[in-house]
Every structure is written in C-alpha cells, then in structure tokens.
Amino acid sequence: MAKRQMVTIDGNEATASVAHRVNEVIAIYPITPSSAMGEFADEWSARGKKNIWGTVPLVIEMQSEGGAAGTVHGALQTGALTTTFTASQGLLLMIPNMYKIAGELTSTVFHVAARAIAAQGLSIFGDHQDVMAVRQTGWALLGSGSVQEAHDFAIISAAATLKSRIPFLHFFDGFRTSHEVAKIEQLTDDDLRLMVDDDLVRAHRARALTPDRPVLRGTAQNPDVYFQGRETVNPFYAAVPGIVEEAMQKFARLTGRYYSLFDYIGDPDAERVVILMGSGGETAEATVRALAAQGEKVGAIRVRLFRPFSVKHFIDALPQTVKSVAVLDRTKEPGAAGEPLYQDVINALFESGRTNVRVIGGRYGLSSKEFTPAMVKSVFDELAKPAPKNHFTIGIIDDVSHTSLDYDPSFSIEFPETVRCVFFGLGADGTVGANKNSIKIIGEETDNNAQGYFVYDSKKSGTLTTSYLRFGPKPLQAPYLIAPNTSNFVACHQFSFLERYDMLKYAMPGGIFLLNSIYGVEEVWDKLPAEVQQAIIEKKLRFYNINAYDVAEKTGMGSRVNTIMQTCFFAISGVLPREQAIAEIKHMIEKTYGKRGEAIVQKNFEAVDATLANLFEVKVPEQATSALTRRAAVSANAPGFVKDVLGAMITYDGDLVPVSAMPVDGTFPTGTTQWEKRNIALEIPVWEPDLCIQCGKCVFVCPHAVIRHKVYDKALLPKAPETFKSTEAKFKEFPGMAYTIQVAPEDCTGCTLCVEACPAKDKTQVGRRAINMAPQPPLRESEAANWDFFLELPEVDRTTLTPNTIKNSQLLQPLFEFSGACSGCGETPYVKLVSQLFGDHMIVANATGCSSIYGGNLPTTPWSVNKDGRGPAWSNSLFEDNAEFGLGMRLTLDKQIEYVREILPGFTSILGETLVHDLLSANQSTDAGIKQQRDRVDALKGKLAGNPDTKAKDLLSLADVLVKKSVWIMGGDGWAYDIGYGGLDHVMASGRNVNILVLDTEVYSNTGGQASKSTPRGAVAKFAMAGKGISKKDLGLLAMSYGYVYVARVAMGANDQHTLKAILEAEAYDGPSLIIAYSHCIAHGIDMAKGLEQQKLAVNTGHWPLFRYNPALTLEGKNPLTIDSKEPNTPLEQYVYNETRYRMLLQADEERAEMLLKQAKHDIKSRWQFFQQMAAMHYDGGNGSEH
C-alpha cells in the first residue's frame, strides 16, 4: 500500500480530493464558500486525474444549483456515482430534488460548506442555517469539524450511503473549515478502495433505469397509498446509525483515527456537558480537556451523525453523572421552541427517561461569528448556576432580548509551545499567498502542526487582509482567530494601515513587531502614530523595520512585497534555520511560479536574496513622542449611526456592536460611503483647465464617481480654497458661468480610466492631457478641502437640462458613489450613469453578484441621496429571482397607480378639475415634467391633509405613485444568462415597463471567474479551463424575438454617446427594456486602465457589435433594429490577445487556441451577416409584423 502523505491543504481541497476520487459524474455550480470544491474537481478532471476505478470523472457546470441537483438526480437514476458541492442558497435550491433522491433511496453524498442564509441580510460566512433547512428531507447529515475530519468524513459518508441507500449530506463549517489551511494525513487511493465496497457500487448501478430492464420510478400517488409508501423506508433509516458506526470503525482500523456518532470528551463523571457539532466541537473539545485537567467535572458531546438522530447512541454517549447540558446550535429558528439540536436532545432525554438532566439551549457562531474557549467556559459557568439562562446566545451583546451570556475574553487555553502570528497585508501585495506558502513550508518541512486562516475585507479594492498562523508541536484544535495579547509575532505589511487599525492589540508582551515602511531604520520611529509607539513600549516588543517597497522595486517585483516579508518572517521567527528557510522559500517559489516561466521565479529569488540586508531591528526609545494619532474611522460630520455602528465595523470592532444598534429588518440608510475616506490611491488625477474642452468624458467613465464637474455662478468663487481651480464654462445652456472638474482625493482609487478617456492633448506636448495623474500624498489635504467646497456648490437644476449629451448628463449628480468595486471596474460607470439620469425616482432590484456586493455590502454603501433626500431605493432579493423581484416592484406601482386613478376623480370637488386632470394626464418624460407632477402631488397632499375620509387617507398614502417611478433590474451575466434566465425571459415576456441592465463581464466575477453562458468561445475561465468550446449565448437576439422588448447592446468605451442614447431610450420605452452592457473586468486579466480601449476593440473586431432594437419604431413602419457599429474592421486577435483569459490558452494549448479563434471569427462573421439582414428587412407599419 502506498504511504500516506502529510499535506497542508484547506477543507475544500481535503473534501474534494476524496469526492473526486469516488465519483463518476460531478455536477456543479459556484457558490461561496463551496466553489473551490467544484473548481478543484473541474481542474483535476481537466488534467486527466482519475478516480479510484481508473477513469476520469465527468464534471459539468450547470446554470444553477437547482439545475445541478436535477442533473445529479438524473445521473444517479441512471446509475452513476454522482456528487455535487454547494452551500447556503444553493442548498435551498436543491431541496425539491433532495426529497426525491431520498424518497427513491438513492446513494449519493453532497458536500456542503455550511453557510448562513440570506434573511435580514446576505452573509457568505459559515453557520448551520443551510444544513438545518434540509434536515427534514430524509438525508443523513454528517458533520465534520476540522480539515482532517472533512477529508475523513468524505469517505465515511461515501461508504455509508452505498451501504444504507440513504443519501448523505456531509457538511463542515464554511470558511472556518472550508478555508482553513491545516496539516492533515491524506488518504491514499488504496484507503478509499478499502472503504468503498465495489459490490455496493454495482448494486447501485443495478438499480439504475435502463430500457434493458425497464421500470417506472416517479409515479403520482393518491390518498389511498402515498402515506404507506412514505413509511416503507423506515427500516433503511433505522439501519443508518449502525452502518455509519461500522464505517467509522472500519476507518479507525485503517487509519487509527476513531470517530463515533456522538463523540464524548471529558471527565467520565462529568456533571456539566456541552453538545454541539461542526468546528465548534473542536473548540469545545480542547476547552473541556483544559478544564477537566484542572479538575472540573465537564464534558462535551460532538454530534457527528445528526440525521438520522440515534437516541440510543446519544444516550449511551452521555455519562450517567451528568446533571445539566447546554446544547449549542449554530443556527437560528425564529419562533421555534428551541433550535433543532436542542429539541432533539430534549426529545432523546425524555424518550429515554433521563428527565433529571437539566437542558438549556443556546445559539452561537452565526455567520462565522467567533466561538472561542472563553465562550465555552462561559457556557459551563452558566450551567453551574442554579437557574441557568435558557435560549441564550454567546458571542454577541444582546441588549434587546438579553439572551447573551457574558464571557471573559482574556480566558485562553493556548499552549505556550504554540507560536501564533498575525499578519496585516494589502490585498494586492500578496501577503495571504505568501502566508499560505509559509504554513505549507512549516507543515511539510517541520514536525510542527500548522494552521493558517485568512480574513478578507468587504471591499474589492484597497483591501486589508489578515492572516492568522499557528504552529507548534501540540495539536491545534483552535478553529478561532488569534486573540488579543496572545500573538508572538505581528506583521504590518502596509504602513498606512497603522493610522487606521489597532494591530498591536494582538501582540503578546515581549513579542515581535515587523513593519514594512518606506522609512529607514533611523527615521521610522518618528513616523509611527503615538498609539503604536505606546504599544511597542508598553508591551516591550522587539520592533523590526524593512523598506520592502524599495527591495521590491529594485528587484523588479513592483508592489508585491510578499516573498520579501515572508523571508523576514522566517529570518526573525527562527522557525527554521535561516539557510534552510531560504531554501524552502525558494523551493516554494519555484513550485508556485515555475509554470509561469523562469523569469518570475528569478525575480522572486532576487527579492529573497536582497531582503536580509535591508531588515533592521529598531532601537525603541523609552517614551512615545509622536504627534501623529490614529485617524477616526469616519468623518466627524457623519451621522451618529454611521459613526457608532458603521464606524465600528470599519475599524474591525463590529463584534462589539450590540443587538439594539442593528436595524430590526435589515433596513439601512443610503449614502454612507461618503463618510468612509479610504484613502487608497497612490496617484490621483489632476485637472488642467487650460487644456480642458469640458466634454465630461472623464466624469462619465469614472467607476467610483470621484471625478465630477459642475457649472456654477462665478459669485461663489471668492469663498473657494486657494488651490481650487476654475475656468469659464463652455456650455451653451450656461453662458457666463464658471466651471470646475474636481477630484475626491481620499475616495479615488487611482484607476486612471479618466486619463485614458480624456481626448484633450496639449498641442506642444501631446503626452500631457487635460487630466493627468500625480502623486496623491502632497495633494491629499488641499484637494480634500477643494472637494468639500465643490460639494457645497449647488447642483445643476435638472429641469433646465437636457441630458442627451455626455457633458450635460455628467452635470447630473451621481447617486451611486465611492463603491468598493475593483479599481477601474467596468460595471460601475453604467450603474452610476443610470443613477445620474433617473436616480431621484428609481427603484433598483439587484441580483446577487458583484453589483450587490459593491452596492450593498456593509459597512458603507454607495447608493446615495440628493439634497432633497431623494435617491435610488435599492434591494437585493436573491441571485436567481432578480427579474421577478423587480417585476414585483413594477406590479405594485402599476396596481397602486391604477387604484389612485380609480379614486382620484372622486375628489374633484376638493382638488379641482384642473388639478385632477393634470395629475392624471401629466407628461413625465422629462425632469421638468416630473418636477411639475411632484408639485401637483404636493398640492393634492395639502388639500387632503387632515381629511378624515377613508378614501382620502388612502389617496394621501398613495399619492406619490403618481410621480413617475423607474424600475431598474440589474445584475451580471451569471444571473441574466444562467441562473436567472428563466425569470428574466418571463419578465421580458410580461410586457411590463421595467428596465433591465445586464452588466456583462462574460464570467461569474463575484465568485471568482467561473464560466457563464456569456463567456465567449476561446476564453479560459474556471469550469472552462481548456477555453470555452462553444459560442456565447446571444441574449440580445433572444430578447428581440419577442418583438416588443427594447434591446440594446452597448459598450461605453467604444461609443459613450450610444450608451447614453440607449439608456435614455430604454427608460423612455413603455415596456420591457434590456440593455446589455460590456463590462471589462479584472477576471479578463487585462490592464484595467485599458478597459475602455478593450471595449473599443471588442466592438471594432465585431465581438461586441453595438445595436438598438426599438419596437416603438415599428409603429412608424420602420425596422426596429439599428446596427450602431461599423462592420468589423480589426482582426479578432488584436482584441482577444490583450486579455489573459484568451492568451493563457495560447500559452497552454496553441493549437486549440487557434482553432477556437478561427471558430470565433466565424461566429462573428455569421452573426454580423445575420444582424445585417435583420436590420435590412422591410417593415410596413404597425404591430411589428413584417410583410
């Protein structure tokens, strides 16, 4: 038998590595935090990795989890060993099939990275709400609590399902286990073969549907027999506990790792016991061992097999001495008598006559909330009280229902031998990647146990990452973050973070602090904020400084300081002898980067070699002397809620926000990004008034609404700050006015799209434009003052402006600003434009995805309000239902308008004929028309105020619907082309007046670049590793087939005026409108500064022809289709090979790349010809019918 290897991997990989080896068909769909399991499976199959029977599993990406479950069901019914991976909403979409699969006694295992469910808000983080939502489906639920267990239980569940015929859901905690990197013993193929009984595999196949032995499965049953049929399965469920136990025993004989259905840990004569499952069980187990060692009569039961719940096994596991138990559920079931595990425990004790045991239940760890030994200790303390609190919570401050237990955060069970390290990095600097490598080195090159866990920011640009590393000779049962004052080593890889976060709170007295700064060893001390100096002195930290930026620059590493800081870590921490550490780092560099070419490996080697000469220990003075202090999270002018609640989240103190501070129904104020000055740009644009032609293009393309222009009365200028720039306005509508382009220096991300878009060049020096980038730090303070002044200048009066030119449209206030989207994002300029044009009367239904994350992820959100308090109202329902969600909004408005129109005439005597007539016949096609209608509604309200009539009250409550409301349905291509397409199609077919904006990045961007049906032929994406072999779905053409849907395909980088025109037409069209907007994306692997240029190339090559299909034209006897771009005039290569998504296929498989390119060219040609023919068709008036 092959020897088992120790590997350092995360829970997703540990699970997938088993699942891939014991299945034949794998149907997948991406969802955080389980996506990586599908990605691994796809990658392994693409590379020809075989399962234990010597054949490569077939992996297919589906359009949704519902689709994946259906496919799995079908594959199972025809006899394939089949699996899938999912989480959260994805698991909910599988429920109907799960009932079927269980009802038909079908062997399969679904692997679930358990995650919260979207309720008052979405959460991607871990808890058991999803798993608990399927506990009634008839599936066996087996929960693992660590990376090793996830690996082990993957095969135990596979063995048990074949034997029992009951489908298994194997789950582990999302992020905490799925993303924790840990050193585990990897099972060999032989191990798996020994666990899986081939006779049972063949029995599974023998039950399959085949015309050779035809049967019928899936009948419709009636009242006479359905019930009995449902009861037939009982013996199978009764057998499951025994089968799982048997599999666990077999596994133990094989590996020496013992598991039980209910693992008891602690004093055999324990009096107090906690009961829980998942990773929390690890924490409880370690805490119990520590407390029991001190003589406390405590214990813990780790529930492994939650369904079927074996009362016998549970009771057998619970010592007879137990007087009280606390059942901890990582879920929330509002309105229930208690959470599920709690209820099961009570039931088990009652049924078995153990009624002398006091039971309390509590909730913990929702959405990856920390669950620490201190909390376990608190629960035991509670159990010792004469009247312990039931239905408690632990880990939060509940000052509303007072459910929460107090705990002592300083309680720790960490072994002194364990080394704990915390690293703060910038997303872009590679800190996490380096730490993943470090933990692999430690795990695989030393005898130490090793654990790495990584926490990320809620924004997508300028993000903070935190890496938590533990290693040492003792077992690491510590699935929780490193607590304050316990870290041996704290590293700050980004100097500017010192002014924002308290990092040194993690450092233990006498620990080490490593700082990357642009300063030399002599000067760095004076550059530190006072709080940092104070902490270094008080904790007697050894302080090391390196200018890693300088080392990176000199060795050609750019901004990536990862290997430099990694070298420092090994050099200072002494975990390995220095020479060996450097050799290992280099080995890992070769392993990680080698396949990308030799040069990158050499650059990294050079960086490693140059590091130690630049690393210095700083002599720490005895007193803090700095005049600098840490900056407040938000502006002093921010509202109280923003300061107290959102501010706490910004400084990573959100765990301390009490229940009372949170909105009860998930409703938050808009316009809060304005208060969070992230200050992440190294360079910002600077305006040159003398060159500027005031075209507004820079403002138009800005993804973050940080560059704006205004025309204003010159009389306001005397109050301007000294450096505020102004010039004569060149707008025919505004003669004699002043004009300014202003940048928000602390909100800009430095993406340079504005500079790229600027058409004005200096005639004496063409490299200089009307907008040029300049270093931000010297400009920060003065431009911030200028920005404040600029904001105070009055916004343009919308009623005086026709927004049909770029420059005019950009005078409108953006009501979507400073989002956390990627720097240079290709989506947000469209979103911002829509907010400018219609923001004060729009409602947004936003599909889950990038746009819902940069649009609605806490702490601060970008949808904003104008000075009248009006602005977009925004909501996110789900990923799959967004079109329907938006349609519902439209239906409400339509119904309410209808009702108001029905009752309004009844008030003619009070309101007057003119007002009633005008209200009912108002033309609201312009801002001026909307303003007039608002005035009329105000007049109505004035006249009806205080009227006691019921209808009058109704009318008052609904009168605002008489003012036009624009419904916008937004989302990405994953939603529109795949998971939400059925709904989208139906909503378009409904004929209702909704505006659908598809931000088409041609890939699932938010979940990390999986292929969608929009992904073009030849592009590489996850789940299309060999380059997508089929052509992109033509969503526009499908929509046009209705004949009454307004459809436009736009790309603002190719033709901004066309984009503007299409959006205005779409909104004006009284029916469904679909705008498909080319959105360049970080997932394309392009220089984001060239995103607009790529858009132009996409159009010029014919990949993305621009068109508008306006059904209104058919009424005039015209062809509704207008092709707005020229015949393709640029070879496709010139577009695609600027993008890594295409180029990497050329580098990996040139022959296939060329074949797909050729086919893609053919696609372009035939589509162009088809569109040309459509556009040339003769229409002869009326109804869209062709003659």
Partner: protein, 333 residues
C-alpha cells in the same frame, strides 16, 4: 552543372538563399514550405529578451492580481496548466521545425543586456538549433551613454552568449556604428563566427488623428541592398567571420551581388512575404542562368570577388565613391 552550394557558420548549405528571421518560421508548415521551396537554411523568428522576461512576469501578474483579497473570489482565473510563455514555446517550436525540415535551422535571439536570459542560447542549442543568430537591437537614446560603453557591453554580451554554447554564433548588427570594422573585429574576437549585416528596425510613425506614435514594419526593397553590400565588401577578408547579407535581397541578382561582395549567404524575408515561396526557385533559376551565361561554375568562386580588396578601385567603397557618384551626374538639358 552550376554549383550553388556555400558554407556558412561551418554549415554546408545547398545554396546561399537563407530565409531570415521572420513570421515565415512561426509555423512548422510554413518552415517546411521554405524547405520545399529550396532555401539553403532557415533563421527562426527572434526570441526577444523582453519576451523571455516579460511574458513570464506578465502572466504571473495577471494570474496573481486580485487574488487572495476578497473572500468570495480568491482568484479570478484558473491556474492549473503549464504555460508555454515565450521561451518554452519557442524552444518547442524550434525542435519541431528542426525535425520537419532538411536544411539547417538557426535560432535567433534578440536582446542587448547581459543577464539570465542569455541562457536561452544554450536552450536553443539543446532544442536542436544548428547555430545561433544574436540580434543586437538597441537604440542609443541616452546622451550620457558613450559609444565605447555601448560597444563594450555588446562585446561582453557576445562573450556571454558564446560561452554558453558550442554551436556557431552569428551576430546581427545595426548599421549605426561609428567604426564598424573595428566593432566587427571585436565581436569576432569575442566569439562571433558570423556577422549578419544589417538588422532593420521597427520605425515609429505618427497618427495625426489621435496624436499617437505608431509602429510599422515596412517590407524592404532592392533599394536597400547597397548599404549592406558596401559593408560586406569592406569587411570581407578583414574579419575572421562568415558574412551574411540581409536587407534588400529580392532577386537572384541581389543574391549574386551579395556573394560577390563577400557574403556567404544572402538572407531574405520581405520578398517571400510579399510574393510567396515560389520566389525562391525563381531566384535560384535566375542565379543559375546568369552564372551559366557568364560561365561561373560555383557560388564559392564569386564570393568576395567584388569585395573592397578584390576590386580595382578600393576607394569605390569609401569616400571617393561618394565623389564619383556626384561627378557622374550630368547636367540636365
């Protein structure tokens, strides 16, 4: 029977027409067509120093950018494959070309600075190259850089490359050298077994509509022949290296002139790119016919026959030549 064979860099070639570094060698199929058309040898398209370094760095940059920053998207592109960034792909291709043609294949390396990239000369040798052509492509735009510094660096580079290979090394030069024969001699001393005169540069152009600098590579024509012809003629017999003429070779006559100036081979690409592979047999036929009608037995016989040291008026290659051309103009009526 007219003998068209020649010997260049120690390689026996069936004739002196060599396909110079161009896109024609980018496909195995087109390389085979060159072979079938009858060329004496093929110089592969160039592997650039920038390509060796930057393709790898660029791929790494885009595969790494944005990774491990956001919890839902820890990466944006799949990264499972092994990528043939410029060098690897080039070497694989070189091997494939070498296997599919009957004539010698010369690898081409293009760069100016010393450094790790030069090891690719050895990799080309290992991949099957019969010789290496090193293209010294450098525009000296820095006023503080002296001619001596630049030449010293290039000589060192040639030494570095030569030290890593055992096959012959040819160096392709720019015409913009103050004292070409001296520099040529230094290159030969550093290990160059051949000198290729001259490389052609991508030249900048301006797009007046967008006020942008553009780059075009314009195909050569026969008018460009005299410049390398002169320098081949001057260098012949003065340096210990085989000379190759490139730029402006479009006809059989151009090849013959090259030979007479002292070249061992004449390289062409523009002619073939513009008019197809069948220009090779046409040029060979033209050469044969001329040689037969002028009773030349072999190419070797004429090589260097009109070099500076072989002609009656050596000054024709130098300044006096200039005076004579001016003097040859007649006043127009």
């Amino acid at each position: 029977m007219t003998d068209l064979t020649t010997r260049y860099l120690g390689l026996d070639l069936r004739n002196p027409i060599v396909a110079s570094a161009s896109p024609l060698s980018k496909k195995v199929d087109s390389a085979r067509k060159l072979d079938d058309a009858g060329v004496g040898a093929i110089v592969m398209y160039s592997l650039f120093e920038e390509q060796i370094i930057h393709e790898s760095l660029e791929l790494d940059h885009y595969l790494t950018r944005g990774t491990d920053s956001f919890a839902e998207a820890l990466s944006y592109l799949p990264d499972a494959g092994t990528y043939a960034t410029g060098p690897g792909k080039y070497l694989d291709h070189l091997t494939a070309v070498k296997k599919s043609v009957s004539v010698p294949v010369i690898g081409s390396l293009n760069g100016v600075s010393k450094g790790g990239w030069t090891r690719y000369a050895r990799y080309m040798q290992e991949a099957g190259a019969d010789a290496i052509e090193l293209n010294l492509y450098y525009i000296a735009a820095d006023p503080s850089l002296t001619a001596k510094e630049l030449e010293d660096a290039q000589v060192e580079l040639v030494e570095e490359v030569k030290s890593s290979i055992t096959i012959p090394l040819a160096v392709k030069l720019s015409p913009f050298v103050t004292a070409l024969p001296n520099f040529a001699k230094r290159l030969c001393d550093a290990g160059a077994a051949g000198l290729v005169l001259f490389n052609r540069f991508y030249q900048p152009d301006f797009d007046l509509d967008n006020l942008e600098v553009t780059h075009n590579l314009i195909l050569s024509n026969s008018d460009e022949l005299p410049l390398p012809l002169r320098w081949i003629g001057i260098l012949y017999g003065k340096v210990n290296a085989d000379l190759a003429l490139t730029s402006g070779v479009h006809t059989g006559a151009d090849v013959l002139k090259s030979m007479m100036a002292g070249a061992k081979v004449a390289m062409t690409a523009s002619e073939l790119l513009a008019h197809g592979y069948n220009r090779v047999p046409a040029m060979l036929e033209e050469m044969t016919q001329w040689m037969q009608s002028n009773e030349y037995e072999s190419i070797r016989q004429m090589q260097g026959s009109m070099s500076q040291q072989a002609v009656k008026e050596p000054a024709a290659f130098e300044r006096a030549n200039y005076m004579r051309i001016l003097g040859s103009y007649r006043d127009l009526p």
